[in-house]
Subunit: 142 residues, 2 copies
């Protein structure tokens, strides 16, 4: 049976709200906030970096994912790819002005998470995972 095929024909982009499911900003947002996207863009705030440096900087990323994200962001105009015609070739990536704008906003998020991660985890572990009964510590006086 045919799977529901959402028609790709978008008449016009009248939707400008990210909360609208047809808004093109959704696509951008998903890429930018993807698992590696945030880290890649944030890492490049320090300046231009070559492939391997970037790979080394971001722990756990595979070449495939790095390459894939890098290409996407380059196509989005958030990164600029520079190739030095040497042998072996040196390829470096750097944020475009537009890329910088978004990376700066990502940085704030990253810093917060970094600074508060332990607190959040501690809170989470102090909370009972799944219980229908309201916790005794939660005041029902409302």
């Amino acid at each position: 049976m045919a799977v529901g095929v959402p028609d790709k024909a978008r008449a016009e982009v009248g939707r400008r709200d990210v909360f609208d499911k047809d808004c093109p900003a959704r696509t951008i947002l998903d890429k930018v906030t993807s698992r590696w996207g945030v880290l890649i863009l944030a890492a490049l705030r320090d300046g231009p970096m070559r492939f391997h440096v970037l790979r080394d900087r971001i722990g756990g990323i595979s070449e495939k994912m790095l390459s894939q994200n890098l290409r996407t962001f380059t196509e989005y105009g958030l990164l600029e790819r520079t190739v030095e015609p040497t042998i072996p070739p040196r390829v470096s990536y750097e944020l475009t002005p537009r890329g910088h704008e978004i990376a700066d906003r990502l940085q704030g998020l990253l810093e917060w998470v970094q600074a508060n991660a332990e607190e959040v985890v501690r809170f989470q572990q102090g909370t009972r995972p799944l219980d229908h009964d309201d916790g005794p510590r939660l005041p029902t006086t409302k």
Copy 2:
């Protein structure tokens, strides 16, 4: 994925960096920057909201995803869940102070993406696409 690192007491525990793959902040970051996480937290900046209102506000989200994210963030201490013992019950969610901090950072990102999405898309389309087609999804011939 046990690559090794069986030592529970790492020598450099102080090196808690989001770029480190073992950093707990990675988990938090992934949840917060998940497809719906960003939108949910940002939406709640406007104030407490009930389940259906939130669902209506965020276009395209399923009840399952909304519920799942809401629970996770509540367990993280980013949201507070309030139940009014009426019939039928009214459940509302609101940002905790900690939730507000992160939501504010998310908001800046959202606003930027919203404001620049069209430019990014235009740039992307003006870029010579690589031979690999980036189609939405193609049902496998089966």
